[in-house]
């Protein structure tokens, strides 16, 4: 275990999220606090509608909390505006989504290069090719998303998530849209690359088996933190 891993990369304090509805204010998340250390893998589990995706959006700075604070690599997200949060994401965060979220008009290679290009990185191409090779898609570089299978599209998304060597990787139900064979392949890739790159992995899933592959599991129920349990990988690393 490295020295860094003793430090929190994510600290969540009293995080609460209300949304306005026609019937009045609805609390989606209520007073959630926890922390994640560098290099750690954490699963957020809960039933549908429990608030786990909202929690992920707040952790990644995609949305802002009603109360409480998220410290990402020491920076309080509530003090940052949209532009500054985008900058934080560009520098420190990678994403994998359930619906892949590839840009349809870009090839596999270009999709992987996209975050680096947005950040102005000129060496993006070599790095992207290397990552696509790692996910087993070196023969699909010039294919468009519509020409790839679901599993292949998610592998492109994983390669994209790791470009620029992010400190944290957020994955939202990464294998939910895939068959079990492809799903397992994606999960294995995710954990392998995570370990190789020393990235912190925050995984949102309702799949208990997948959650158990992480070091810790945060259970959300009805918008509240129910418990934090240890996964099978708790003592690994």
């Amino acid at each position: 275990m490295s020295v860094l891993s003793l430090v929190d990369v994510i600290r969540v304090l009293g995080l609460t999220k209300h949304v306005k509805t026609l019937e009045g204010s609805l609390t989606i998340l209520s007073d959630i606090s926890f922390s994640v250390k560098y290099g750690e893998s954490v699963a957020i589990v809960g039933a549908s509608g429990s608030g786990k995706s909202t929690l992920l959006s707040l952790l990644a700075g995609l949305d802002v909390a009603s109360q409480g604070e998220v410290y990402l690599d020491g920076e309080a997200l509530s003090t940052l505006d949209e532009e500054a949060r985008a900058q934080v994401r560009a520098e420190k965060i990678g994403f994998v989504f359930q619906s892949f979220m590839l840009v349809q008009s870009l090839t596999a290679l270009e999709n992987v290069m996209l975050p680096a290009e947005l950040a102005g990185d000129r060496d993006a191409k070599a790095q992207a090719i290397e990552l696509l090779d790692k996910v087993g898609l070196s023969h699909r570089l010039e294919h468009y998303p519509s020409q790839l299978s679901g599993g292949e599209q998610q592998r492109v998304a994983i390669a994209r998530a790791f470009i620029g060597s992010p400190k944290i990787l957020f994955a939202d139900e990464p294998s939910a849209n895939l068959d079990s064979k492809n799903g397992h392949l994606i999960e294995r890739l995710l954990f392998d690359l995570n370990q190789q790159n020393g990235t912190t992995l925050v995984l949102v899933t309702h799949d208990e088996q997948l959650a158990k592959r992480c070091q810790r599991i945060i259970h959300i129920e009805g918008g509240q933190l129910e418990k934090i349990s240890e996964g099978l990988a708790a003592n690994v690393g």
Partner: protein, 833 residues
């Protein structure tokens, strides 16, 4: 780095379609504006030039009395070119033959505009010169050579002088429209007038001063001249000259303007739809880019670059294609007219570029601004930001832009307002109708599982979207029907005035005993001719016993039509006829009853201006005889037609009461020249005047306008197709999803294809029907208000509208979605994810 990414995204988006529609719409608007404004500008410059040619100057001053020499010296001081002319009739003598000729004496500078066409001998080729004969020489028209039995190189006596006949005079630019001896013209040097001694005090002569220069110089000079103009001096410009075509030209201008506006309006609709759709499709990529850390600035730069690239490239393409089109068009016209059209200035280029830029910017700005506001959270909450798509502001923005564009292009706020407001009203009505229509369709109760019921269900399901589509299609079809009908009506109207076999020569001053032999002569020589009208001059002396001059002076205080007053004071040509001439319509009363009283049918313009009523008795003064005639009808007269028209037509029982000459018109071909010379030699008192130039000009203008209308029609069709394509493309993803669902549920390909075809057929048919109804009503108004044509219903468009609508919409729509239906379910599913 973002530049490279922007170009990459741009090149990919180009292939996907929406950008292509925006591109095509901007390019279409640019080329419409460019080609229309440059062609109309070139045509109007040409017409102005031609009209100047018709008076051989830019302005002229005419009088029966000599002018103060100061008028000319002052004009020269203003920098104007000037020339002097004098018209008089004089006898010519040669080889023991006497002939009365119409002499035009002009200074060296004549003609200031246009050219004189002459030839070296009767049999040689025509050519143009830009001056008149030298001192001591005369140019004679062909008729005089035959009448005097002379040839070029002989001498002729003109008045007291002897002149050398150096050329055959074929045509002068300002050959008078009505000359009593149209074929016996003499062009003389102004300096030779004293030699002829033909002009004495009291001689019947017409003086003219010609002026040419810039508009500013002419205006300045006129400001100086105006206070000292005498009542017998008449200042004439091109526009004052009553050309039978001027009204047609105004109509053509209005038509092109209207059509151009329609083209732009449709292109704008296509652009607004595509721009919105394009931006909507970018919501996910933008949300993704923001999630991946893309800053707002980078994203803004990327899409603004896209917009700039589309704008610049479409403007360049629009200008290039527009230039080529107007080059081809004007080349064709130039060949037809036989002269080059003057080049248009910078205005079309600037106007088209400006309109292209405005279109691109205004229709894309709001959707683009919305795009920059897409929250990154959309990557997790898929429908976040969708509400931005329905923006009232965008609609308001687009409408305002369309209005401003129409205004800029037309330069006429009233026309623009009428068109714009009526279109808005039509949209509102259409929206209500279509909602009701789709709602009513639910009760049709067709058996489930048939293609028709599927088609109707699809139409109902997208009632809102379909209402919008229906409005767009209806507008497009409406505009097309408009153009087709106006084209048919206007052109038919004009061609009726100048049919292919229109007479090109008027023959006047035929004595009663000459009518029969001349008729026989025409038959023998196979010359097509019109009826022989008896003509006599007469003046209205009194109305219901009240002296007419007193009646007029009573009205001096009121505003009366000056032309009519002049017309009443002079002695107009009168005739008697059995039946109503073509092109005239009775507006009030009845055609002659055949009773004992002499009846008169009066031009309706005189009815209002002179307070005439049916049953009034007019006292006509003809050669010292007076006749009391009863007004039994009023007629409309088409003065624009190149046919004999009369202010007053008397009943046939007038025959034999007054001495008359006869008047006819014939269509002469080049092969008839010799025969006509014989005719003129045999009947020296008969005169002919040539209206070939007027007929040719009319035909040229009809050709120009037909071409322009055809061109505009193509543009409107293209714009309509673009609207359709943009609409169908916007619904393509949804359709794909439906096809997938239907296929998955086991629907056969044929069912889906037929359902799609029926859906478009229905949509097009309904749109076409609504368009036909709206068009016909609007056409009635527009024809009367804008084109001054009597409005009529057009039953054929009630059929043409739905059929063409169904065909047009079904063809384009079906082919656009056909590729979707050919794909297998799996690949469609993949495209949807």
């Amino acid at each position: 780095m973002w530049v490279k990414l922007a170009f990459k995204l741009f090149s990919r988006e180009l292939r996907r379609g929406e950008l292509t529609i925006i591109f095509a719409a901007v390019a279409l608007a640019v080329l419409t504006v460019f080609s229309l404004s440059s062609i109309t500008e070139r045509i109007s410059l040409n017409i102005a030039q031609k009209s100047s040619d018709f008076i051989a100057a830019d302005r002229l001053l005419s009088s029966n009395h000599a002018f103060d020499p100061q008028l000319l010296s002052q004009a020269n001081q203003y920098g104007l070119e000037t020339a002097k002319m004098l018209h008089f009739d004089s006898m010519l003598f040669a080889n023991d033959e006497f002939v009365l000729g119409s002499v035009k004496a002009a200074t060296e500078a004549y003609p200031l505009r246009g050219s004189v066409i002459i030839k070296d001998s009767l049999t040689s080729q025509n050519y143009e010169v830009y001056t008149g004969p030298k001192k001591g020489s005369v140019w004679l028209s062909e008729g005089l050579f035959y009448a005097l039995n002379i040839s070029v190189g002989d001498n002729v006596e003109l008045g007291a002088g002897i002149f050398y006949v150096s050329k055959v005079l074929v045509k002068e630019p300002d050959a008078p429209f009505f000359s009593l001896s149209g074929n016996k013209r003499v062009l003389l040097n102004y300096a030779d007038i004293p030699t002829t001694q033909a002009v004495q005090a009291g001689s019947r002569v017409f003086h003219r001063l010609l002026f040419a220069g810039t508009e500013q110089q002419l205006t300045d000079y006129y400001l100086w001249l105006k206070p000292q103009l005498k009542s017998n001096q008449n200042w004439q410009g091109i526009k004052d000259r009553q050309s039978p075509l001027s009204r047609n030209l105004d109509r053509a201008d209005s038509f092109l303007l209207l059509a151009g506006l329609f083209g732009i309006m449709l292109a704008a609709v296509a652009m607004a739809v595509s721009a919105k759709r394009y931006c909507e499709r970018q919501y996910d990529p933008v949300a993704m880019m923001k999630t991946l850390g893309g800053s707002r600035k980078v994203i803004r730069n990327i899409f603004l670059l896209h917009l700039s690239l589309v704008t610049v490239s479409s403007i360049i393409v629009g200008l290039t294609v527009g230039y080529v089109l107007q080059y081809i068009g004007s080349g064709y016209l130039a060949e037809f007219i036989g002269t080059q059209l003057p080049p248009a200035g910078a205005r079309p280029w600037l106007l088209a570029s400006f309109i292209g830029m405005t279109c691109a910017l205004m229709f894309s700005l709001k959707p683009l601004l919305d795009l920059f506001d897409i929250p990154p959270l959309r990557v997790l909450r898929r429908n976040l930001g969708d509400t931005l798509a329905i923006s009232r502001l965008h609609i308001a923005f687009s409408l305002l832009t369309i209005f401003v564009l129409m205004w800029i292009f037309s330069g006429e706020i009233i026309t623009t307002l009428i068109l714009f407001a009526s279109t808005l009203l039509v949209i509102a009505i259409l929206f209500c109708i279509s909602r009701l229509f789709f709602a009513a369709g639910r009760r049709l109760g067709l058996s489930p599982g048939s293609s028709w019921s599927l088609a109707i269900a699809t139409l109902q399901k997208r009632a809102n979207a379909n209402a919008v589509q229906l409005i767009s299609f209806s507008l497009a079809i409406k505009l097309m029907l408009f153009l087709v009908v106006l084209k048919i009506d206007i052109i038919a109207d004009w061609q009726m005035q100048v049919p292919a076999d229109a007479p090109n020569m008027f023959i006047i001053n035929i004595a009663e005993d000459e009518v029969a032999p001349i008729k026989q002569f025409f038959i023998d020589n196979n010359i097509h001719h019109e009826a022989f009208y008896p003509v006599f001059r007469g003046r209205v002396d009194a109305v219901n016993g009240e002296e007419f001059s007193r009646r007029l002076s009573k009205q001096e205080g009121e505003e009366r039509d000056e032309d009519v007053k002049k017309g009443v004071r002079r002695e107009p040509n009168l005739t008697w006829l059995d039946s109503l001439p073509k092109g005239n319509e009775i507006t009030e009363g009845q055609w002659f009853s055949g009773g004992d009283d002499i009846e008169v049918s009066v031009f309706e313009g005189w009815q209002d201006s002179l307070d005439l009523k049916l049953g009034d008795t007019l006292t006509l003064l003809v050669n010292e005889q007076t006749f009391n005639v009863k007004v039994t009808s009023f007629r409309s007269v088409d003065w624009a037609s190149l046919k004999p028209n009369f202010v007053m037509i008397l009943s046939p029982n007038m025959a034999g009461k007054v001495p008359v000459t006869y008047f006819s018109a014939a269509q002469l071909k080049d092969s008839h020249t010799q025969a006509i010379s014989q005719l003129l030699k045999r009947y020296p008192t008969v005169s002919m005047f040539d209206i070939k130039a007027q007929i040719e000009q009319a035909q040229v203008i009809i050709a120009q306008v037909s071409l322009a209308i055809g061109f505009v029609l193509v543009i409107v069709l293209l714009s309509g197709a673009l609207v359709l394509v943009s609409q169908v493309q916007a619904s393509l993803a949804e359709r794909m999803q439906e096809v997938v669902i239907l296929r998955t549920l086991g629907a056969k390909g044929r069912l889906i294809k037929l359902a799609t075809l029926y859906e478009f057929l229905l949509l097009g048919g309904i749109a076409g029907f609504v368009a036909a109804v709206v068009s016909d009503v609007a056409l009635l108004i527009i024809q009367q208000q804008l084109f001054d044509v009597s409005g009529r219903m057009h039953p054929y468009i009630w059929l043409l509208g739905p059929i063409s609508g169904a065909f047009f919409v079904a063809t384009i729509g079906y082919f656009m979605v056909a590729s979707t239906m050919r794909k297998n379910t799996q690949s469609l599913l993949r495209k949807l994810t």
